[in-house]
């Protein structure tokens, strides 16, 4: 038999955790750059069509956007508390917190759906489909394209995050995680905070003028 040092892929749980963390941070870096392309496009077109962008921004549902910001920030706090609870060897409480954060994520998506329905009714659609009469087409249709792209790609991330939090919450409540083994919960938490932070950039540039 080969000696222990060779058969063991990882020297220790610590080394394993270190690799998992590094992998997650690299993944987060790629996610940031993914959104960076959209933010760049937003910046470029905002400087090309400043008036149209301002006018289109005034038609946004600021109330709903703000509500969503509160929902996401609150869920982020719940996730942080959940991770803390699991680290403190209270996986039952941790699971409950993670599941409530997932629930807030679902509410976020529902609010987003209501917003989309509004825009569709008014004709604030992307590109070719743009039928909105309040703001002239040139520039504003680009604003709406970017609005759907940014919020759509973000909502996709929220959907994935809700799935991740649900799985982690259920497994945590079942006692899979503990102070000794909390890495998956911590990584899931990092992902959710990323989703939250991205929204904190999306919200002001789209809703507040």
């Amino acid at each position: 038999m080969p000696p222990e040092a060779v058969t063991e892929h990882w020297g220790s749980e610590d080394a394993r955790k270190q690799a998992a963390y590094l992998g997650m941070w690299v993944f987060i870096a790629t996610e940031v750059l993914l959104f960076a392309a959209l933010f760049t496009a937003y910046g470029v077109y905002r400087s090309v069509y400043p008036e149209a962008f301002r006018a289109a921004q005034l038609t946004m549902e600021v109330g709903l956007g703000t509500l969503n910001t509160f929902l996401l920030v609150t869920s982020s706090i719940l996730v942080a508390l959940g991770v803390h609870a699991v680290r403190g060897n209270r996986p039952g409480l941790g699971g409950a917190l993670l599941l409530s954060a997932a629930l807030l994520g679902v509410v976020f998506l529902a609010v987003k759906g209501v917003e989309y329905a509004h825009h569709v009714k008014e004709g604030g659609l992307p590109g070719d489909a743009y039928r909105f009469t309040e703001v002239p087409r040139v520039g504003a249709s680009l604003f709406f394209t970017l609005y759907y792209l940014l919020t759509g790609v973000h909502a996709l991330h929220v959907t994935v995050g809700v799935g991740v939090l649900t799985v982690l919450g259920v497994r945590s409540a079942a006692g899979t995680f503990s102070a000794a083994y909390a890495t998956p919960v911590e990584l899931g938490g990092m992902y959710w905070h990323l989703v939250d932070v991205v929204w904190l950039f999306v919200y002001p540039i789209l809703y507040l003028s």
Partner: protein
């Protein structure tokens, strides 16, 4: 009855299923090798079709649309399915854990997923090919790519998926090199190939998401008329070029940096000397990875960007030449007064250095705006990027294939045949692309299916070179396939190399090492006494 311990990773489970579900980095490397070789063959066939069409002015074998589709497929296949994954995914996967004394990469299951993502992406792109194929060129420039009626969408989606495979591979290598180095193997003891793969991985994870997003935007534009890149809808087609080259210029270094890593290993092994100025090779690797992100504007000198912008991008581009020159001088310093063994990997290495030097010097000329405008979108550019991207990647790929073939399969190949093929390929390459430099300088534009008769002699020369190349590749395929079964047994270290990967058996056992490797010395350390050095 428990099965006896397998002799090597090759005999540990012989069924197809055991390969398809393996988490072993060596098998994943071999799978990538087979896949990339297949696409190299396919891309080569497309290239030959192009060269045959260009043999005579006017229509030779295909119409203009077929020609446009053919060069698009040639580019897409070669860039995304061969050159980007070939060395990192095939040889990197196989060698990095062996070189750093690890049992596997950090995330073996993700590693397997990257194979399937690659296969899925390639299948989608190929499906687009059978649907008629795109005619945009591999760069998908807007607004043409958003308006042409050909099957651009599957190709975009395919490349998008392959991007994920690239990101996963890069992420895995970064985590592996950071966390799985054997005890005692410090950063400054890492083999140069590992450094090269590490630098490449950083580019891969930083640049690929931007490419993914910009391709997704083009796809959306085609499907729902998003308007981002369409001037008719208020969008800006140049934004595409900025975002695209922000990825695709660094992507050139995704192809060249791993090649430089291979060359650093081979130069050391075949001159039996320590790598000359190891640290400078490392720093220049990181320097290229860094500077590569600030040069994308040199693709856009003719786009109407500001003169200041062009000048700045030109100067930044020239910086790459400084880092590259450091590497070339280091290799020359390693070769100098070495005990040189003329084996096929070294022949490819010399070819690589020639192409890199020649193509790179011309690259400096291209970074000058005035010369660039004369050569812009001519065959000269085609020849330049073939010298750098293909000359470098293919030479290094062949060097790697020959150098590590005994490591991977435990067999040697006929040395004389291999040397002959290497010479054939290097001369074939020169014969193919030097006429294209001349064509471009005379004003022959790239991407054209037709040309006036006075360009014909140079086109014929180029096609003749391409046929030499084809014969060379066929010869290699022939003797390597033969050697897989009938080659002489290699033993553990047929080259007498001091590279860390040779400290395990050849082919390596499933868990890489039978005893934990020790690293008392630095990489590439030949016990031979230091020769008094003029440099």
């Amino acid at each position: 009855m428990s099965p006896p311990a397998a002799e090597s990773y090759l005999s540990d489970g012989r069924t197809l299923w055991s390969w398809l579900t393996t988490h072993d980095h060596k098998r994943i490397g071999v799978m990538f090798l087979v896949l990339t070789l297949f696409f190299f063959f396919l891309g080569g066939l497309f290239a030959l079709a192009l060269r045959i069409e260009l043999l005579t002015p006017g229509r030779t074998v295909m119409g203009h649309l077929a020609y446009n589709r053919m060069f698009t497929l040639h580019g897409v296949t070669m860039v995304w399915l061969f050159m980007i994954p070939a060395i990192p995914s095939a040889f990197g996967n196989f060698l990095v854990p062996l070189m750093i004394g690890a049992r596997d990469v950090a995330f073996p299951r993700l590693n397997l997923a990257s194979v399937y993502l690659y296969v899925l992406g390639a299948s989608v792109a190929l499906w687009g090919m059978f649907e008629g194929g795109a005619d945009t060129g591999w760069t998908f420039y807007t607004p043409y790519s958003t308006t042409t009626g050909t099957a651009v969408l599957p190709v975009l989606v395919g490349v998008f998926i392959i991007g994920f495979s690239t990101i996963v591979t890069g992420l895995n290598f970064i985590a592996t090199v950071h966390t799985l180095r054997a005890p005692g193997l410090t950063w400054m003891k890492l083999p140069l190939f590992v450094w090269a793969i590490y630098g490449t991985s950083i580019i891969q994870v930083l640049a690929t998401p931007v490419l993914g997003m910009v391709l997704a935007l083009v796809a959306l534009e085609r499907v729902v008329g998003a308007g981002i890149f369409d001037p008719a809808r208020g969008g800006d087609p140049l934004l595409f070029q900025h975002l695209f080259w922000f990825y695709s210029h660094p992507a050139v270094y995704i192809m060249v940096l791993p090649s430089m890593g291979v060359i650093s290993e081979a130069v050391s092994a075949f001159s039996r000397k320590n790598a000359f100025s190891y640290r400078m090779i490392v720093y220049s690797t990181l320097g290229i990875a860094f500077v590569g992100f600030f040069t994308w504007g040199h693709h856009m000198f003719a786009s109407g960007q500001s003169t200041f912008g062009s000048g700045a991008f030109g100067a930044m581009s020239m910086l790459v030449a400084i880092f590259t020159a450091i590497k070339i001088f280091s290799w020359l310093g390693t070769l100098y007064r070495g005990s040189i063994a003329i084996e096929s990997p070294l022949l490819y290495t010399l070819g690589f250095m020639f192409f890199l030097f020649f193509g790179g010097m011309i690259g400096v000329a291209y970074a000058t705006t005035s010369l660039n405008l004369h050569w812009h979108d001519t065959y000269s550019v085609v020849a330049h990027f073939h010298f750098i991207m293909v000359g470098a990647t293919v030479m290094a790929f062949l060097a790697a294939l020959h150098y590590w073939f005994p490591k991977m399969f435990g067999r040697c190949f006929p040395a004389k045949l291999a040397n002959g093929a290497a010479v054939l390929i290097i001369f074939g390459f020169i014969a193919t692309f030097v006429p294209q430099f001349l064509l471009g300088n005379l004003g022959m534009p790239r991407r054209y299916a037709d040309y006036p008769p006075h360009f014909q002699s140079l086109h014929v020369a180029s096609t003749a070179g391409a046929s030499l190349l084809a014969f060379g590749f066929l010869a290699i395929a022939g003797y390597l396939a033969w050697s897989l079964r009938h080659g002489a047994l290699a033993g553990d270290n047929p080259w007498g190399s001091e590279g860390f990967e040779w400290r395990s058996a050849s082919p390596p056992p499933t868990h890489n090492f039978s005893t934990p490797p020790q690293y008392p010395t630095g990489p590439h350390e030949y016990s031979r006494e230091e020769v008094p050095h003029a440099a």
